[in-house]
Symmetry: C2
Subunit: 368 residues, 2 copies
DNA sequence: ATTAGCACTCGAAAGGAAAGAGTGCCAACA
DNA sequence: TGTTGGCACTCTTTCCTTTCGAGTGCTAAT
């Protein structure tokens, strides 16, 4: 963090070595030594040479040693370099891709509880805890119907601008006239469609009440539902799955540490969309260790894919794990998931199924 | 398990001692010694006397020692005795009760996603993982409406016998006549109401199709939705929350052990309703260690409260933890939750709010 | 029937020695 | 100048031994 921050261009060999360290450390979770690298990475030179290089990589800030005389471990900066430049963008095999798409198809029959299903799927695929979230920006009502059931029961049905439909059964303590219900239905259908939540003012409600000649206060019940629906649909929804997979990772063998992070995650993961704003769909964002804003994530990494859920809705699926994470595989898988989601939910401008690895990976600038 | 199974009546003092051991062990999670009991339980006798009694309780099968020269720990049989006879049924203070009810009220505005909210609440209250599940038996359609939106779009709205309402937006590739939709709407409303899922036969669908003069295959789309709704509503739904709280318990400090159980739980907890059949609402059932059928639960305990969700629907909320569990407090809290749910969801025959501790606790017979 | 006393057991904690992995550096070499 | 083998050194991990203490079981006294 302090020394050697000036971004010098690494020699080819240094890059290869750094990549080898990351790969190996990701695989084994143990500090990797010069000998192992010499054996693995096919550059024809001896452990001693590699030791020299390693020492330099340490002083440049890409690697560190848990203690003198242990192998090297990537620093966040090292991972960042790996993710930005070194990592070979993994192309999943056709089978894998198809498998993911198949499983997605199975899940996504109804696009409503999609989020939770998708996050579960992401977690299964990656074996890390996963989270899914959606932010909608402006939602309006497209259509408003009221179904008269009996004298004190009716059903409100609202179709929103994102083509979801919400309904509510209302039971009143008093009897209402079927005519009144019909009047209200058409009044709401004309007065409350196409407007945002803010536009539902007491004024509007009052005038509707008067226009409908409603003396029983039914109007306000219906209006309350309209507001509720708009609020709820406009609010971001989040969902976390597979927290327990954290326990697979050796870095979370300490129950306290695991518990802290899991608690944070099941807390809703609200705070997760880390550097705010959702980016363009299709991009993948990687946040490594201290790059995360949330204190609880400072020594974990997050990989996030953004997808386009159509009609002003942006969604993200992400995965949380130790900094020692298989970024490449995770990114590839999330990318397919996100593409699939965009294709299904989005406006249809999404790329076709084949096109699964435009893998634009992007992260922080790297400076604190 | 092998010796001393004959249920002899324990002397008063043995009971007191056993209760003291359980209480203390629940509190500290460490084997409890004769000295501690002498100090705590106010029976005026010395550690030596207690040691004699303890030895007998061990040979009777109520207690065991992790090793010679450690304190005593309750066996499942010991816990069973404690739960059945010794435990003082805990009355929560008025404040606590009110707090629970208040929090329940906050959550339960909509009775739909109730289950997940309630399980979360149960977990928060008890600090153990919680699960909620519902079994519905027979659901029928009470009312069937189709809202015509435009030539290839309509909304199906179905009201079920349990007064929930489901809807689905249907987009057709072909244009349909508004008249046809109306015809279908009334045909379904007369033909598909009051019947169970089984009764939706191809025969019925065909005759409806013919009656509606439907040549576009719209009928089958609608019928498919009807089946889907009936299936889904009739299926039990389960929900687990707060798995991570398991990590609070010292017995789950071993990550592998914790992981096993958490995995089992997030697997859906299907298999949880252990000795099958839901009992009468209001009862609390305690399953201790080996009394559980699921292998994964053999050394954990489960406390389950059943509530009446009205109209053929039985629900359960339960809590999972180590056998060393604060049965009394958990039972009391679950009891209030279940009562609250019955009151809100059930037919209304539930006891009023004040009545929160009829705490009938019941478990297995205790023999394997 | 209860109790004080005491030897004994067994796990948990503390200390220490040995093993092993990996480094840093130096001197030799191409 | 860059690369390599060699070697001493460091630090962790592991295993063993010792110590400590809580708690028991038994016996003899009350």
């Amino acid at each position: 963090m302090q020394a050697g921050e000036q971004t010098m261009v690494l020699s080819e060999r240094k890059k290869k070595i750094l990549a080898a360290v990351v790969d190996e450390y990701v695989r084994t979770a143990e500090p990797v030594g010069s000998k192992a690298i010499a054996a693995k990475a096919g550059l024809g030179c001896s452990p001693a040479t590699i030791r020299n290089e390693l020492a330099e990589l340490v002083s440049l800030g890409y690697l560190e040693q848990p203690h003198t005389s242990a192998g090297r471990v990537p620093t966040p900066m090292g991972y960042r370099m790996y993710v930005n430049e070194l990592m070979e963008k993994q192309r999943l095999s056709l089978e894998e891709t198809e498998d993911i798409n198949r499983r997605m198809n199975q899940k996504l029959r109804e696009l409503d509880d999609t989020i939770s299903d998708v996050s579960r799927l992401a977690s299964q695929l990656t074996d890390y805890p996963a989270l899914a979230l959606t932010t909608r920006t402006t939602v309006t009502i497209k259509r408003f119907d009221i179904i008269y059931v009996d004298a004190n029961t009716f059903i409100i049905v609202v179709m929103l601008s994102d083509n979801t439909v919400k309904n509510k059964l209302v039971k009143l303590p008093v009897s209402v006239d079927q005519k009144l219900v019909q009047r209200l239905s058409s009044l709401f259908n004309s007065g409350f469609t196409g407007i945002t939540e803010d536009a539902v003012t007491p004024l509007l409600i009052n005038s509707t009440e008067r226009a409908a000649d409603d003396t029983m206060g039914v109007t306000s019940v219906i209006a309350a539902f309209a507001i509720e629906v708009l609020t709820e649909a406009g609010a971001p929804s989040a969902c976390v799955s597979g927290e327990n997979r954290l326990l697979n990772q050796p870095e979370f063998r300490d129950p306290d540490k695991a518990h802290r992070l899991m608690g944070y995650l099941s807390g809703g993961g609200y705070i997760l969309p880390p550097n705010a704003n959702m980016d363009e769909a299709g991009e993948i964002k990687v946040l490594i260790g201290p790059e995360n804003v949330a204190e609880e994530l400072k020594d974990s990494s997050v990989v996030i894919a953004t997808y386009d859920a159509g009609d002003n809705t942006r969604g993200m699926i992400g995965v949380v794990g130790p900094t020692r994470m298989d970024y490449s595989a995770v990114a590839a898988k999330l990318s397919i998931l996100a593409a699939g989601l965009s294709r299904r939910l989005g406006g249809g401008e999404a790329p076709p199924e084949g096109m699964h690895n435009k893998l634009i990976i992007k992260g922080d600038t790297g400076n604190e």
